[in-house]
Assembly symmetry: C2
Homo-oligomer: 166 residues x 2
């Protein structure tokens, strides 16, 4: 047991791993390895966290309209509770600001400030470089194949999850 | 903005998305969609959480030797702090037990109890079925291609991260 490896999880189980399960565990390994590396890079280079970077990335996409808390949660696919603390922190540091929705005065809209935009852009440029490095073990063709397969998977997941919700 | 989508994150950024960044964001979308669905299934079917399932899966792999807390953290690629609360819960419910390491009396070893093994197996069988369903949008050949590409990526990540640590 000499390296990080979440994969052989079910090897000893009294049922064989299905092809899909092996694939899912391998995808999870790749995602966690990359996420953990980026998490460490963000901490070392910007003294910030991955959830905070993700929230800023979403706010950055909506400079004019801003986003409601519930929209941020949905875009990031995480729970509202986690987001509140992050927005509090960003607001205290002058990187984000809250306003009231003109149409619905109970709803709070969040936007990045000009300082927040600059701070995010500085991080995003570095982030892109880290990701280029982490995925550099595949060549262009392999990355394209992987992208296409994941796109097909994502589309099938959207279709499946919409059907379940309906 | 009608569906959950973390991907176009950097579309508005004053730098183009690299091929690697697009790929990484797509991988992250797929992983989060699948994880969130499994999280919901675990809650509805077993009133349990994904981190708890993951911890039980690791303990299940080492019925004889058991695992130290630090080993569980490393295998799951998460921090020790999160694990402690989960082990406390499992111990209270009689699903895991702590013993002292014979060689190092300061170190605690954790194992699943017989009840824990049964509980995990019941969940693992369902879990495999959920994953089979979620990845059913790809055919056998596509899953095999995706598995092989992710294996190449994982191996390159291990090589890269080992080099960085050294």
């Amino acid at each position: 047991m000499s390296e990080t490896d979440i994969e052989p999880t079910l090897n000893m189980l009294k049922l064989d791993n299905s092809q899909s399960l092996r694939l899912w565990l391998r995808m999870l390994s790749c995602t966690r390895l990359i996420e953990n590396d980026i998490r460490q890079d963000l901490r070392e280079s910007f003294d910030t966290t991955l959830p905070r970077f993700d929230v800023m990335a979403q706010l950055y996409r909506y400079p004019d309209s801003g986003l409601r808390m519930s929209e941020i949660s949905r875009l990031l696919m995480v729970t509202n509770g986690n987001i509140t603390g992050i927005i509090d922190g960003l607001a205290q540091e002058g990187l984000a600001e809250r306003t009231t929705d003109g149409d619905d005065r109970r709803a709070t809209i969040v936007r990045l400030t000009a300082d927040g935009v600059s701070a995010f852009e500085a991080m995003a440029i570095q982030h892109r470089g880290w990701v280029d490095g982490l995925l550099g073990g595949l060549d262009d063709d392999e990355r394209e194949q992987l992208f296409n397969l994941l796109t097909k998977l994502r589309d099938s997941l959207y279709a499946k999850l919409e059907k379940t919700d309906a």
